[in-house]
Amino acid sequence: MQEAMIKRAKELLTDGTVNRVLGWQKGGVAYDATPAVFDSAEALEQGFVYDDFTAANLSKYLVKETKNEGKVLVFLKPCDTYSLNQLTKEHRVNRDNVYVIGVGCDGKADVEKLRAQGMDGILGITAEGDNFVVETLYGNKTVAKADVLAERCVVCKSRKLMTYDEILGEDGEVIDSNRFDMVEQLENMTSDQRYAFWQNELSRCIRCNACRNVCPACTCEKCVFDNVNSGVANTAAADSFEEKLFHVIRAFHVAGRCTDCGECSRVCPQGIPLHLLNRKFIKDINELYGEYQAGEDTDSRGPLTNFTYDDCEPSIVHERGVE
């Protein structure tokens, strides 16, 4: 796939369709591919990478890229195309300045899960059927995909590309996913248990802001957490659990707009399952306002910015809060 992508990118650079390419660059280690812009065939040859570790959602980078001159080529996985649609809807990305090549995706490997399988010195990864063959300093090792796929890929909601100008590989289907199972487990807890769960998770937060910085729904010109006049700007935390408010506020801010791409949890250095907060919102929205998937289109009104006669009444908050 990587070769085909580089070939097609070169063609589009040569024929002038685009003047640069947004893709993934080899990192210091094999599992650490980072988003990068390539402006020449040479740069692509040297640095472009696409494999089972290239997990980053490139859509957010288009907020900045589409403000520059000329058209940019971007490679998007199915889940990333939801983000692009949402950003287009919010006028954050000028879709006319993007050439999207949709690439099929069978799920990305989670390096922490590989390590848990006892793998060290990882040099590369290739997919073979239901398995990954992992090249390590200590020789090749085979592992079942199901055991090491990232959580968001295990419960993948869609392999269908929502927007593209062309496709490399094959388009997939929307999946009847069981992604809300964990949310349901949390809902079934008592409030004390749930509090303990989140206290345990969120007390680990070091407030590095990686979740916010990577989130395609967090593209504000000035984030409230960086705005001294907002009243919620960064201050020293009084206790280890104070950062919960940051995460709760952030979840509210992206509610109805979060496409559940899972980047927040992927980049969290503390391994906090932040996506569960957003998924709870998505599940609630589905239940209260009808099924809604942010990023499916570029023009519908999200349930929280729309009014219908069937909308639930505010009393729902109280009714659902009763334990």
Binding site: E90, H91, R92, C220, V224, N227, S230, Y309
Partner: protein, 665 residues
């Protein structure tokens, strides 16, 4: 630093009864910025206002907090007071220590503590207040009346007579409403048609009145003085400009088996129809659900016979957009559905009818040409039983009915009973009642005439069961509470005084108008005693039964009252705008359109603007801008904005947070 004055009102014993006002004034003295804190029996009285004015001058106050009733009650009063003393009126904050405090607490200690907290929050807010200057917006000198019954007609006539153009939107093919279906009117017994139809004609011929019959309000935008309304004209399949109302099509139409809604389904009409002889506008309407041509494509007889060439089977619903300064709601009422009243056998026997059906049975233009005949066999009934309060004054737990009194039933039942006895002296007439309520001019005299002169048997008690018998009669079982006995009456006809409820179109309309309703879907008035014809939503007025059950004289009075209010509004050339409007901080605005989507007034638009960036480059960004003349300051945008770029004058995010902080302190 602000110099703040705090004025705590006793409101007689309304506040002082459960709040220690001296303690509140004393406690608030030590809040930052407060230079004077005092209390008085009635702050809104002239003496109270003078106290405030003097304090503003003597203490050089820059802001004041009045701890009193709801801002809906007296905010405007105290703003005027401040302005009279040279203070910007938007430097006034009200702490509601009456509705939200003294009225809901019984304990003095609790009430006092809460009043202090509410006062503290208002002080925290006024610290961040800034002087605001109100602009002006023009008034569109045109009124919309929604509903063409007697209420709507009267309101429209009164407004039009004052010289302002009025549009009436009526959902039925003709105006006239319920009154057109009624036979005689109490307490004078004049014929409803004789007094209504001239008014209908007046409305139709009035040069300032335009009637959109067979139409509905589809969308309402804007605000007082400047509403923009989309009206849907339903397709009649008849060109109203050509139709002469000759009725030839109605006569020739082969489809004559459609239940006639005007006669409440007691006879049939044709698929193309004119509801009644005096309909306004008198034009035909094709019922697409019954028309053979519309359903099968074959027939077309009406088009063949129509000499005016008015029939147009291809007609589509059309939309009109018009601007109005004021809107009057006159959507009226309907009798409730009696399907759930099995005990009265309404659905089992055609001889159990509602009072409105009885009106049609005794009306000369009704299905029996005014002869009182039983619907089942067309025979003359000899024993009639009227049952009052069917679905009215019910237990709230009883889901079938309404908790309120429908108000008109006692009088029309007395009328029915009296007319029955007068026209047919051979009849025996019984009325079962809980109470007889006759609070109107000449009403009790009227009821007593029914009993004393016409020999109507009034029985205090409810009917438990109506059972159709094999011989075609109805066995009515009821209790006579005064005699203390159970009665069994063999009746030929049973008439149920069904409760009335607001028309079903009222609820969606209220949402469009952002006008409030009570739990029974009656529109709420701005003040139950002092502003009974106004909705709390500025520019929206109430006429007739949409606000509560009413008889005709009361409806007409309210209709004229609403018209007077509308005229009072339309004579103004402009209205003072609310300066508490939203604005966006363009440096923070993402241009994401969230605010535009939630704005109910369409006040927000976007523009691409060039910005100088910190690194000395320029960038073009899409940013929101608010039209202050259209914004109503509801604040929906401020909470939808993810970055907090939208803020509201007078209710800024920082002010609200300051209030919350003060409360949580």
């Amino acid at each position: 630093m602000q110099r703040i004055g705090v004025f705590v009102c006793w409101c007689g014993s309304n506040i002082a009864g459960t709040v220690d006002v001296h303690k509140v004034a004393e406690a608030l003295k030590s809040e930052p910025g407060v230079v004077i804190s005092t209390q008085y029996q009635y702050m809104c009285s002239e003496a109270g206002q003078t106290l405030i004015k003097d304090a503003i001058r003597d203490h050089k106050l820059t802001g004041i907090v009045v701890c009193s009733c709801s801002p809906r009650m007296h905010e405007a009063t105290f703003r005027k007071t401040a302005a009279a003393a040279g203070l910007n009126p938007y430097m006034v904050e009200i702490a509601n220590i009456r509705e939200q405090c003294s009225w809901i607490h019984k304990d003095m200690e609790v009430g006092t503590e809460k009043a202090i907290i509410l006062g503290r929050a208002a002080i925290a807010k006024v610290h961040l207040n800034a002087p605001l200057v109100a602009g002006e917006s023009p008034v569109v000198k045109r009124a919309l009346v929604i509903g063409g019954g007697i209420a709507g007609i009267q309101t429209a006539l009164d407004i039009a007579d004052a010289g302002f153009p009025v549009d009436i939107v009526e959902t039925k093919p003709t105006i006239g409403g319920k009154m057109a279906q009624i036979d005689k009117t109490f307490p004078t017994l004049d014929c409803a048609a004789c007094i209504l139809t001239p008014k209908m004609v007046d409305a139709a011929q009035h040069e300032k009145i335009n009637i959109y019959a067979y139409s509905e309000v589809a969308e309402v935008k804007g605000f007082v003085g400047n509403f923009s309304v989309k009206i849907k004209q339903k397709a009649r399949m008849v060109d109203t400009t050509k139709c002469t109302g000759c009725g030839l099509c109605v006569e020739k139409c082969p489809m004559k088996k459609v239940p006639n809604e005007f006669n409440l389904g007691m006879d049939k009409r044709s698929a193309i129809y004119i509801p009644f002889a005096q309909a306004v506008p008198k034009v035909a309407t094709i019922d697409p659900t019954a028309c053979i041509k519309m359903k099968t494509g074959k027939c077309g007889l009406c088009a063949t016979v129509c000499e005016a060439g008015a029939i147009d089977y291809t007609q589509q619903d059309s939309f009109i957009e018009e601007k109005y300064g004021a809107i009057v709601v006159a959507t009226g009422y309907n009798p409730i559905n009696l399907d759930k009243y099995d005990e009265f056998a309404y659905n089992q026997s055609p001889d159990v009818i509602t009072s409105l059906e009885f009106e049609r049975l005794t009306n000369a233009a009704g299905p029996t040409a005014g002869k009182l005949l039983r619907p089942s066999d067309g025979k003359h009934p000899h024993t009639l039983v009227f049952v009052q309060c069917v679905g009215s004054r019910c237990d709230v737990a009883n889901e079938k009915g309404k908790s309120y009194c429908s108000k008109i039933c006692c009088m029309y039942t007395a009328k029915h009973a009296m007319l029955c006895r007068e026209k047919y002296p051979d009849t025996d007439v019984y009325v079962f009642y809980i109470d007889v309520r006759t609070p109107g001019k000449n009403f009790d005299e009227f009821y007593r005439r029914a009993v004393e002169e016409y020999g109507v048997h009034y029985i205090k008690g409810m009917v438990g069961k109506v059972a159709p018998q094999a011989d075609g009669t109805l066995l009515v079982q009821g209790s006579d509470l005064i005699e203390g006995e159970q009665l069994k009456i063999k009746a030929d006809l049973v008439v149920l005084a069904a409760a009335i409820e607001p028309d079903k179109s009222a609820r969606p309309l209220a949402t469009m108008l952002t006008a409030s309703m009570d739990t029974n879907d009656f529109f709420t008035e701005a003040h139950p005693k002092l502003r009974p014809v106004e909705s709390p939503t500025a520019g929206v007025f109430l006429s007739g039964c949409c606000q509560g059950p009413k008889d005709i004289p009361e409806t007409v009075s309210q209709a004229s009252g609403a018209a007077a209010k509308v005229i009072g509004l339309l004579v103004k050339d402009s209205l003072t705008c609310n300066p508490c409007v939203a604005h966006s901080n363009e440096l923070m605005c993402n241009g994401c359109s969230a605010c535009e989507k939630v704005c109910p007034y369409g006040a927000i638009s976007y523009e691409d603007k060039e910005f100088r960036m910190p690194d000395r480059t320029t960038a073009i960004r899409r940013v929101a801008s608010v039209n202050p003349a259209v914004c109503q300051g509801c604040g929906a945008c401020t909470v939808a904005c993810p970055s907090g770029a939208m803020d509201l004058n007078g209710f800024s995010n920082s002010q609200i947070m300051a209030e919350v902080d003060a409360i949580c302190k």
